[in-house]
Amino acid sequence: MAPKVPPQPTLEQSTSAVDAGHGHHHAHEAPPKGIMRWLLTTNHKEIGSMYLIFSLIMFFIGGIFALVVRLELFQPGLQFVNPEFFNQMTTMHGLIMVFAAVMPAFTGLANWMIPLQIGAPDMALPRLNNFSFWLLPVAFGLLLSTLLMPGGGPNFGWTFYAPLSTTYAPPSTTFFILSLHIAGISSILGAINIIATILNMRAPGMRMMDMPLFVWTWLITSFLLIAVMPVLAGVITMMLMDINFGTSFFNAAGGGDPVLFQHLFWFFGHPEVYIMILPAFGIVSAIIPAFARKRLFGYASMVYATAAIAILSFMVWGHHMFVVGMPLAGQLFFMYATMLIAVPTGVKVFNWVATLFRGSISFEPPMLFALAFVVLFTIGGFSGLMLAIAPADFQYHDTYFVVAHFHYVLVPGAVFAIMAGVYYWLPKWTGHYPNVRLAQWHFWLSVIGVNLTFFPMHFSGLAGMPRRIPDYALQFADFNFVSSLGAFLFGFSQLLFVAVIILCVRGGKKAPAQAWGEFADDLEWSVPSPAPLHTFETPPTFQRPAH
């Protein structure tokens, strides 16, 4: 495999993907031709498309890494890769999926949809928007290139605990730090842009409590990004100094403390997992009412629950560190604080179910993914509650139970929500409905694949199988066999997703402006499908729907 990704394919594919989205230009000056158009564009729709295509490419690259891992774990013993490369694969899979696939996908959706949903002509800072996108291919080109460097790429897990990532790290770690810095700057600039857009660019008459929930959840996510990405930048700067300049932030020999690394990392890392799930809540909160043909139940409580989750996320980082030798009082605090998060999350799940209750439900592709999200994300939430119990966590820590938990919240959670959002907004982007039959195949193969992959991991984890090890004891062979089959099924069925998108860009059933009926009535559905390149140049008058 050649993991280095030049930005070229991004450009070519984005051209074909977006061209269909805006056949007719306004009286604006003609955009530059060819590659320069994509390098210089400041249009939120074009940048949004580039983000989404970049994220899709990275989703496949990270997916290939995951399949290398699953291939090796198909049978006990070492068959295909050596343990050093296995470690690089687990690490790169995590880093790419978190920072290059899920986060840019949500940013892409935000770029496309937030200006449309609040009736703004574009993002508040269009040129900054272009810059924050183009940092991403640079960052992840650099990160992937470390795999080809002497000593290999990062091999210390996506959490890069010191001293694994400092004293014992491969020489390429400095490049890893640089690439994470660049990706972090990109996220921060994106977050500033989104906050500035939402706070200042809303259509006249739209109050904060009138905003669609996708906008609300992204506003809160942006605040989380601004609060924790600088902490990540600080941590990796300390690592950089420990590696290259002889400081001892995390080196016990020089008076530092490796446990400090874990505190700092998880102070970033726990809000980070909510950065990856809050926008998903927003997408699902738009889709469920549209296809249940009812107003969303409990709009205000959804907003407050999102804010509560965000605030609590700063107080629970210690639950990742129960086994470091934390005092009892600390364990109790983090245990109860973590369990408290189940309350606002429960409010959300309750509201979605209450919206479905007595609804007139139909099962279009976006709704299928949204319903699977509610069910499977809740399973991930419950295993999270199990992990929150400090004494039980001593058993579960660093086993496949943890892997099962966070994959349930991230794959059928965040990734399914992104796919639901893509199916939901494709008619607005392309002017065509996605092919229903293919989308159904994609959905069912994905659901079966995801559950085959990750459900057995609960059992192998409870039985004590450790994560991040290329070999395992014989008693775990059956569970791993099923997991690997499921992973290949899930991985290859994503090709159907690409097929649906390409077919939808090329043609298909024509979609009207309000493509999903009268209950999908946020402002984006008031512009024609496909959305023209420039929308809302004169602000729309916002009319409050009768709730």
Partner: protein, 198 residues
């Protein structure tokens, strides 16, 4: 949209940016401020087994003869220092308030002189603040010539207010090299004498 509306919007965007940038800079500084804060927090609370590495004077309090506490010693070698560290006894039984002396031997097994430092830790963390070290080799860096062997004392007390649920206290010493050290601040011999005086 009128010109003045647009100006108001521009001003709003600018205000948002400045506030966000201020928050960013603040959080970046906060991450670095956490390093000393963490250190202070651990020392004040005794969490993490971080002990005071300055000598304390003996407190002549009454020895609590009704209570026996086991104190265990563990010595470990961090990587990169060709020294051996041994302790004369792995375990002592003592009363809270009693002053005890234990000898540790350091030997340099390499062919050149080197500097090392033993970094202490205490477990359980709740006992940390009640271990009172009067003299410890861990307060200073040591220098050993090639093949040199050195015996250094640890003189300490357990305070009488040691929490009642603590029956065993473990003191861990991990040897680390002191890198880039050419100008000796104090020779290990002088340190030894100081230890004997105490």
């Amino acid at each position: 949209m009128t010109q003045s509306d647009r100006e108001i919007r521009q001003a709003g965007v600018r205000r948002t940016i400045w506030r966000s940038v201020a928050a960013l800079v603040g959080m970046f500084a906060f991450a670095f401020a956490l390093v000393p804060l963490y250190d202070v927090f651990c020392r004040v609370t005794g969490i993490n087994g971080a002990v005071d590495t300055t000598a304390q004077s003996i407190v002549h309090e009454e020895v609590d003869e009704s209570r026996m506490v086991t104190v265990q010693f563990i010595t470990r070698n961090g990587s990169g220092l060709p020294w051996r560290m041994e302790v004369e006894t792995r375990q002592v039984r003592m009363h809270p308030g009693q002053t005890t002396e234990v000898h540790f031997t350091f030997s340099n097994q390499s062919g050149g002189e080197s500097w090392g430092r033993a970094v202490p830790g205490v477990s359980p963390a709740t006992a940390t603040r009640h271990v009172r070290k009067v003299s410890c080799f861990c307060f200073e860096e040591q220098k050993l010539q090639a093949g040199e062997r050195l015996e250094l004392p640890l003189v300490f007390q357990l305070a009488r207010d040691l929490p009642p649920e603590v029956n065993t206290v473990t003191l861990v010493y991990t040897l680390y090299p002191v890198e880039g050290k050419s100008e000796p601040l104090q020779t290990a011999g002088a340190q030894n004498k100081e230890g004997e005086e105490a």
